[in-house]
């Protein structure tokens, strides 16, 4: 059985880590979660990013967050990647599998997955 005591154990483990995390974040992954995004399948995309970023040990430098409608509803699910000192990358028509690929190749490997970007989608 899961218990609140386990959360207290997580708390004890995390207390020191929280401080380190603050200053070192350099990349933001933002998933559109308005009605249009949710209907198009944004929920599993978000879940895949959260899991893949943390499982690949990128949590110290990458945050995954949610936003509203970007205004390109026909291209949802849309994911924007903001990296310090670089131009924003917009991924469109995302899926959970594509999300894992973006984490592996772009966030970890440093190479934008051009075929999934909005520029490649006309």
């Amino acid at each position: 059985m899961k218990s609140l005591a386990e959360l207290q154990a997580i708390k004890d483990k995390m207390k020191d880590k929280v401080v380190i995390r603050e200053g070192s974040l350099t990349t933001r992954v933002v998933v559109g979660m308005a009605t249009c995004g949710i209907a198009a399948g944004a929920r599993p995309v978000l879940g895949a990013f959260v899991e893949a970023v943390n499982e690949s040990g990128l949590a110290q430098s990458v945050t995954v967050s949610q936003t509203g409608c970007v205004g390109l509803c026909q291209y949802e699910p849309i994911v924007e990647v903001y990296e310090a000192g670089k131009e924003k990358v917009t991924y469109v028509k995302m899926t959970a599998d594509k999300a894992k690929e973006v984490v592996e190749k772009h966030l970890k490997g440093g190479k934008v997955v051009v075929e999934y970007t909005v520029a490649n989608c006309e």
Binding site: K2, L4, E6, L7, M33, A34, A39, R43, G71
Partner: protein
């Protein structure tokens, strides 16, 4: 929407945007009815706005002019013979909005509930500073998650910490297994 749990995610986002510090999501399945209630303590809506929210051409968003959240929920409920009721107050001491949707599960056009666990996890991940009280009652019993209890145990560690998110997922999985085995 392919699952009602996605409507729940969508409608609850409105509560968070309305500045709610606590949103109560309740699902009650008794006999062939499913009643969904999303109750928040956000700033509420005036009677004038309330009249327009069921209209697909009303929205608070600024990027485009059509809002489909409530109309989609209404469609999902009404196509089973059910309905959606919205009560809202902007009163200084008692503000907030309650959306209640009733569905008839045996109707051919009933949209399956889908993965409610993922909806709850997504809400907490996206809004770690607001509280959610989730309850799901069936004939077999009840699943419950109150983020205020988790917050107290975590003493300042954010709810969107990955280890916490994983714990919430496993906790809900376990609760649902117990419910389904009864």
């Amino acid at each position: 929407m392919k699952e009602l749990s996605l409507n729940i995610l969508d409608i609850t986002e409105n509560s968070v945007k309305a500045g709610a510090t606590l949103t109560e999501i309740s699902i009650i399945e008794i006999g062939d009815t499913l009643t969904l209630t999303i109750k928040d303590n956000g700033h509420g809506m005036s009677d004038e706005i309330l009249k327009t929210v069921e209209n697909p051409f009303y929205t608070t968003r600024t990027t485009r002019k059509v809002g489909l959240g409530i109309p989609l929920l209404k469609l999902a409920a009404e196509q089973t013979g059910g309905n959606v009721k919205i009560v809202s107050s902007t009163d200084a001491t008692n503000h907030g909005t309650t959306v209640t949707a009733t569905f008839f599960k045996n109707h051919l056009d009933f949209t399956p509930l889908g993965d409610v666990k993922e909806t709850i996890v997504t809400l907490i991940q996206g809004h770690p500073n607001t509280d959610f009280l989730f309850t799901h009652q069936t004939n077999g019993g009840e699943v419950k998650l109150d983020t205020r209890e988790l917050r107290e145990a975590l003493e300042g560690v954010p709810l969107d910490t990955y280890e916490v998110i994983v714990w919430i997922k496993e906790y809900l999985n376990e609760q649902y297994q117990l419910l389904n085995n009864r």
